[in-house]
């Protein structure tokens, strides 16, 4: 479909008029500015989440010992004499998880790259609705602000884990964080869901309707395919989380019993009967599982772009890549109860979800093979983005294979809620998706800011991160296999786990090194914005449309007419061409194929 809707803007000719600071930087409706806003807010939240993890890792490595830094951050109430309070431990774990999964990897990753890349890579002036796009950011900002505010509540922030299962999350008597802290968490997440839905709708409409002339779906870069399916997943699954959240709010505030039944707590038999905590779990994980693919798919899309551009080779198996994005997207909706094998649900479901979950391994494996084969016989240029992308593939393999073990209900019996699960999801999300996000930032920084990130600092950042991150999470598999549960404040009560005490120290030391390494990135990021080398228009000699826009941003992206697309984006090192890349806007020669030759 090549219909083209000109968005009603008079910026087609790219003429400038001085714009007030507020509409240019704060309340912008320009997708490029909104992308940067998402990136910066997401990164700031990520640093908060990361510091929290370092704080609780101090307690895990040196249980019960006094640390001035804990008292510095948490005060006398939550770290009396510098020793972390057990309730605050659970609170830190909860908020760390919430921030990383939602604020960094969903809003920070999708929000940044969907906003930046969709209009630019499909050849549109901007998103279908600039207003909705702006609102999507500001709801995200408000949501972040409220989540941070919840940290200062007297009884502490939400502490029932990022999965906030009731009754623990419904009853303030069960844990102090389930009071006002939990209320603010729920408000924050409701706003977050609104932000995601607004964004997702916009992305879908834009991709379907605003592709420029010649930009058939089969000529879309894989980053756009990934962001497209991600947006669909979000629009279908976030409303279910909203319903889970609303029902929880009702149980907490209006005396309903959706999730509560037969509870005696704090000396009182509660009235609620007939509810089921499992209802919450089903509703939560119905979003929860697609959520991790909402995180992963953009990461995979970014990786495809970075690897093919820097291998000077087409991405291998474009059709299979698109097919596997669609398959992963579809399958992600029918696997959620693998988070619930030992919750007491009917064992028959265990068999069903084992089957569907293991199926996802197939498209995932296909993607890995395609990445590896893209490297094969390539001419690889190790830009910082490229090294992060390779790191992403490595961690995706490692995390993915342990997923096969956890998918098996029988094996999950002894691994559920142990460090094995912690290792698995950190390696796929905390490593794989984060490494891909870094790859995206290093690759598209010149597009966002017009300057280049310092290359050597990029390499240093990569090696320190890649080494320390595996150092943190790989050993945790062993803890999990030994039966060490997660979300435990301390393990000193168990002679059974005494042998892992030094492993906890090793993990924490790697975590501290990895954490410090991120400041190198932060320094590079901020410094290069103002004093970085100026970037040429197409610094990576890439084929996609975003590199045909001027370095200095203009509303409407292209001065003059929108580009016309003649070919797919992967004509790298095509035989018979002068250069080793052919941008999508270059017309076809006689008899030349526009895509995978032969199709």
């Amino acid at each position: 479909m090549e219909a083209q809707l000109e968005t009603a803007t008079h910026h087609d000719e790219g003429h400038h008029h001085p714009e007030p600071f507020i509409t240019k930087y704060l309340f912008s409706q320009d997708h490029k500015m909104i992308a940067k806003q998402f990136l910066i807010t997401g990164t700031m939240m990520a640093f908060v989440g990361m510091i929290m993890s370092l704080l609780f890792r101090l307690q895990l490595a040196w249980p019960g010992e006094s640390f001035g830094i804990l008292n510095f951050f948490l005060g006398d109430k939550w770290a009396p004499e510098g020793v972390l309070d057990p309730n605050m431990y659970l609170a830190l774990v909860t908020i760390h998880g919430t921030i990383m999964v939602f604020f960094l990897l969903t809003a920070g990753l999708s929000g940044t790259f969907a906003n930046l890349l969709i209009p630019l890579q499909i050849g549109a002036r901007d998103m279908a609705s600039g207003l909705i796009n702006m609102l999507s950011y500001w709801f995200f900002f408000l949501s972040s602000a409220i989540m941070i505010m919840s940290l200062y509540v007297e009884a502490g922030p939400a502490s029932a884990g990022w999965t906030i299962y009731p009754p623990l999350s419904a009853l303030p008597q069960a844990i102090p964080g389930s009071g006002t802290g939990m209320t603010l968490w729920l408000v924050s997440m409701s706003l977050f869901i609104v932000s995601s839905l607004l964004g997702g709708l916009n992305y879908i409409v834009t991709i379907i309707n605003l592709r420029t002339k010649g930009m058939k779906m089969t000529r879309l870069p894989l980053s756009i395919w990934a962001l497209f399916v991600t947006a669909i997943l979000g629009v279908l699954s976030f409303p279910v989380l909203l319903s889970a959240v609303l029902l929880l709010i009702f149980d907490r505030t209006f005396g309903t019993s959706f999730y509560l039944s037969d509870i005696y707590i704090a000396g009182e038999a509660l009235d609620a009967t007939g509810g089921s905590p499992l209802l919450f779990q089903h509703l939560f994980w119905f979003l929860g599982h697609p959520e991790v693919y909402i995180i992963l798919l953009p990461a995979l899309g970014i990786t495809s772009e970075v690897i093919s551009t820097n291998s000077r080779k087409p991405i291998f198996g474009y059709r299979a890549m698109v097919g596997s994005i669609l398959a992963i997207g579809f399958l992600s909706f029918i696997v959620w109860a693998h988070h619930m094998y030992i919750t007491g649900m009917n064992p028959f479901l265990g068999a069903v979800f084992t089957f569907t979950t293991l199926l996802i391994a197939i498209p995932s494996a296909v993607k890995v093979f395609n990445y590896i084969t893209t490297l094969w016989k390539g001419s690889i240029r190790f830009t910082p983005a490229m090294v992060f992308a390779i790191g992403m593939v490595s961690t995706f393999i490692t995390g993915g294979v342990t997923g096969i073990i956890l998918a098996d209900a029988a094996l999950d019996i002894n691994l559920h809620d142990t460090y094995f699960v912690v290792a698995h999801f950190h390696i796929v999300m905390g490593l794989s998706a984060v490494l891909a996000m870094f790859a995206g930032v290093y690759h598209w920084y010149p597009k966002m800011f017009g300057t280049l990130l310092n290359k050597k600092l990029g390499y240093l950042h990569f090696w320190l991160t890649f080494i320390s991150a595996y150092g943190v999470f790989f050993p945790q598999h062993f803890q999990g296999l030994a039966g060490v549960p997660r979300r435990y404040y301390s393990y000193t009560e168990y002679p059974l786990f005494a042998d892992f005490a030094d492993l906890s120290v090793l993990v924490t030391i790697f975590a501290i090194i990895g954490g410090l390494a991120q400041f190198i990135f932060l320094y590079n990021f901020v410094y290069s914005m103002f004093r970085g080398q100026k970037s040429p228009q197409n610094p990576w000699q890439s084929n996609t449309l975003e590199w045909t826009t001027p370095v200095k941003h203009i509303h409407g992206n292209w001065p003059g007419e929108l580009p016309t697309v003649h070919r797919w984006p992967y004509d790298y090192s095509k035989p018979g061409k002068d250069q080793d890349f052919v941008p999508q806007t270059v017309p076809l020669e006689e008899g030349e194929s526009d895509g995978e030759s032969g199709h």
Binding site: L171, D408, P475, A482
Partner: protein
């Protein structure tokens, strides 16, 4: 420890800032653009990836060597042994896939680094290859699926009829194991009957009467308070609300009592039950079925040595069964640890002391187990120390 950490962090920060200054200075000296990768840099990184591959595998092997011995010992249950076999089968598959893909990934990155005079190959796809690498994993996964699901069905179905039934009752922050008494039947329970002398809410004639008496007393106390309070003041309103709640609770217990009166026997089965704390015993080689309940929030029964885990959900009865096949003494020999004990731990976040909610498990011969069980006091025997008032009411019924 604190000082050491502080020194390391400060040194780290100093190192980094100095490195950054060095980079900035050298950058301005040799003049490469930050989007151009020099041959030296490119080769250096390619070598780096090969080194990384070796280091990564070495790290993996070192971890297996160092922490392998601390993993769980062989399974102490019949189904547990099946799980371990399934696990090992899966390890073989995934470690093979992990190793092959990693070697290819890092080797290709190294081998196909940009080299002068060599262009990349314009290969877009290969249907045959793609078919192979889709079907082979599909077949392997089909085997994994079939083997996995059949193990799961083995574990979850075909409950043995002669299983010993034990209730595991979870609350913040301890466990109680309840054994059926001579009648072999676990008594009913109802959360509205929970009280100081009846912490599990067991249903017996006595406990119902006791609860009603307790609630009556409570109501009387509030009514007194109400009569002394200023009418329509906050205290009066709060107390009225409290009385409403007690009334509601009373009504529910009375209704429940009526419901039960239809079935006389239900009152008799709870008295001889044996609630046990801190440590519970199991006879070896006999199937045991656990009924799992929770008083307040979700907890989880995790008994890793038996490869057993099941959530304890308030408002629901869950269950899990297995047959322990190694006594504690046998396990002490196997693990070469004379202080080894089987453990029940809570494995679902449940509050501040979630990390210390455990119970010891002893597996022993049937004779020893029976001897131990005989010594455990029955619920009603403990009840015997209840209010005199209640005793009279009971006697008069």
């Amino acid at each position: 420890m604190n000082i050491l950490l502080a020194v390391v962090v400060v040194l780290g920060i100093i190192t980094f800032t100095q490195l950054i200054r060095v980079f900035e200075l050298t950058k301005s000296l040799n003049g490469t653009k930050d989007n151009e990768v020099t041959v030296k840099e490119n080769n250096g990184i390619a070598n780096g990836f090969m080194l990384y591959l070796i280091g990564y595998f070495a790290f993996f092997i070192w971890l297996v060597w160092k922490y392998g011995p601390f993993l769980l010992p062989e399974a102490a249950s019949v189904h547990g042994e099946k799980i371990d076999l399934l696990m090992n089968f899966n390890w073989v598959i995934i470690i093979t896939a992990f190793a092959i893909t990693h070697i290819l990934l890092f080797y290709f990155a190294y081998r196909y680094r940009r080299t002068k005079g060599i262009k990349a190959d314009f290969v877009t796809h290969n249907e045959k290859l793609e078919l192979v690498w889709t079907t082979v994993p599909a077949i392997v996964l089909a085997i994994v699926i079939i083997y996995g699901i059949s193990t799961w069905n083995d574990i979850m179905r075909d409950e043995p009829e002669d299983a010993l039934t034990i209730e595991l009752y979870a609350k913040q922050f301890d466990w109680t194991a309840r054994y059926a008494g001579e009648d072999g039947v676990l008594g009913k329970s109802n959360y509205r009957l929970i009280s100081g002398t009846n912490p599990m809410g067991l249903v017996t004639l006595e406990t119902i009467v006791e609860k009603l008496a307790e609630l009556d007393k409570k109501k009387a106390k509030y009514e007194l308070k109400l009569s002394n309070a200023e009418p329509n003041g906050t205290i009066a309103e709060n107390t009225k609300e409290k009385i409403r709640k007690v009334d509601k609770h009373l009504a529910k217990v009375v209704a429940y009592q009526k419901e039960l009166e239809m079935d006389n026997n239900v009152f008799l089965t709870g008295n001889d039950d044996k609630p046990v704390k801190v440590e519970f015993h199991l006879p070896v080689n006999k199937p045991v079925k656990f009924f799992i309940r929770s008083q307040d929030v979700i907890h989880s029964v995790f008994m890793p040595h038996f490869r057993a885990q099941m959530n304890a959900v308030p408002g629901m009865l869950t269950s899990f069964y297995f047959t322990p096949n190694k006594t504690t003494d046998e396990m002490r020999i196997i693990t070469k640890n004379p202080e080894f004990d089987y453990l029940l731990l809570c494995n679902k976040i449940c509050g501040a002391a979630h990390y210390n909610m455990q119970m010891n498990i002893i597996v022993e011969s049937e004779e020893k187990y029976n001897a131990w069980l005989k010594e455990q006091p029955a619920f009603y025997a403990e009840e015997a120390s209840a209010d005199e008032e209640v005793k009279e009411i009971v006697a008069s019924n």
